[in-house]
């Protein structure tokens, strides 16, 4: 009895470890299943386009507004710090590099996960709870091919576009604060940026990052929806899990990708 109480935490640890590994394995097989079943969503591209509208187009507002404000804050804070060292000229480079390398891909992915990822999970989870997925199977329509794969590809397509737009809006915000509001020289702002930003090293690597984030976030979103307990409480906790897991995975993946790229 005493021994049992002592071993309980260890057993708990072992249980959650096995669960985590098991879930990782199921998720990898799910990704392979999506890729194997994506023929239909690529041939009948209309399905994917519809999902791009819901995942990407409807996220435009939040991406534009947050990008603009992040860039403006970067401009203000960067100016305050840089002017202490007498190098306020480098503001353009600072804003562009921090956005392109880190903030653009990461923040766009976090916003995308909370705006579109959660919606995907809730939608698929609710389809499962109301037995629409089973009904599809009965009608010999594969739910992975018809429901999951189009959403997955829509997320993968939308994410780099949203990240690029976030970068552009952020740089515009930095320009607004640096040049229009504070009054730095416009030519210096852009030329410092152009001298310090490299197309392959900074721009392309940032977009590759956002592509990885797109795959990760959408995979988590559709998996959690597909895996949800088919009850109201189950769908709600699956949606929460999507946002939390996506955020953690984005940040962890960002560290790994940064270590490899830069």
């Amino acid at each position: 009895m005493m021994l049992d109480n002592l071993l309980a935490p260890l057993r708990h640890l072992g249980h959650s470890t096995i669960n985590a590994v098991w879930k990782l394995g199921v998720m990898s097989r799910f990704l392979l299943a999506i890729i194997a079943h994506s023929g239909q969503s690529l041939l009948r591209f209309q399905l994917t386009i519809r999902e791009v509208y819901f995942a990407g187009v409807l996220s435009l507002i939040i991406i534009v507004v947050s990008g603009l404000f992040v860039g403006m804050v970067l401009g203000l804070q960067g100016y305050n710090t840089l002017s202490r060292f007498g190098s306020a000229d480098a503001l353009g480079a600072l804003v562009a590099l921090s956005l392109l390398r880190e903030l653009g891909p990461v923040l766009a992915a976090l916003l995308f996960a909370s705006r579109s990822g959660s919606a995907m999970t809730a939608e698929i989870g609710l389809m499962k709870a109301t037995e629409q997925l089973e009904a599809m199977s009965v009608m010999a329509v594969d739910p992975i091919a018809r429901v999951v794969a189009p959403r997955f590809w829509a997320g993968v397509i939308s994410m780099p576009i949203l990240a690029a737009l976030f970068n552009v809006m952020g740089i515009f915000g930095g320009y607004l604060v640096g040049v229009v509001m504070i009054g730095l020289d416009e030519g210096t702002f852009w030329s410092q940026m152009q001298n310090n930003v490299d197309l392959h090293f900074d721009v392309i690597n940032g977009l590759i990052k956002s592509l990885f984030f797109g795959i990760a976030v959408t995979l988590i979103a559709v998996f959690e929806g597909f895996d949800a307990t088919p009850t109201a409480a189950g769908v709600s906790s699956a949606t929460t899990r999507t946002v939390v897991t996506s955020a953690l995975v984005i940040l962890a993946l960002d560290f790994v990708l940064t270590a490899f790229m830069f």
Binding site: Y53, V57, L60, L199
Partner: protein, 167 residues
């Protein structure tokens, strides 16, 4: 939601994405010097390059005329060999000198070229004959300290001599 409206919006969305990437490539990143195939290289050897880095600008009279494309150590003579990739439209005479300068007090280091007087121009792959190294702050302070100490010694000696002759 009608299908044609969705198509239109997704089209706008993708167009915005393409426009953003183009803007980032053209306006934010520098596409010009490396991709320009109309360029040639020169070699400059320095005793000490200080903090010069690959991709640092090469300037003449303050105008950027190229970039440092490679830096390596010549293991025969132990000098730093910098490869300068210059824009094809700029030519320099054979006795052009290169020096490593610093932009501002603590700014980045760059290579400055000063045009010489000879008629003949440098050809691609040529070596610049006249180079002067980067100013290394520690060495500068070291020199200053020695000369300062010497000055002090001299002054002390003069004082002592004056004190001896005075009484």
């Amino acid at each position: 939601m009608k299908r044609s409206i969705i198509d239109l919006w997704v089209g706008i969305f993708v167009a915005i994405g393409l426009a953003s990437v183009t803007f980032l490539a053209l306006k934010v990143a520098n596409l010009t010097p490396q991709s320009n195939n109309n360029s040639y290289t020169l070699i400059a050897e320095f005793d000490n390059i200080g903090g010069l880095k690959v991709k640092a600008p090469v300037k003449s009279s303050g105008v950027v005329v190229g970039r440092v494309s490679n830096i390596e150590l010549d293991t025969q003579r132990y000098v730093a060999r910098a490869t300068l990739t210059l824009d094809g439209q700029y030519h320099f005479s054979r006795d052009t000198s290169a020096e490593i300068l610093t932009a501002g007090l603590l700014g980045e280091q760059y290579v400055g070229l000063v045009q010489g007087g000879e008629e003949e121009n440098l050809k691609p792959g040529d070596r610049l004959q006249l180079t002067s190294s980067a100013l290394v702050l520690e060495q500068l302070i070291g020199k200053f300290m020695t000369s300062f100490a010497e000055g002090n010694n001299k002054a002390a000696a003069a004082d002592a001599a004056a004190a001896e002759t005075a009484p």
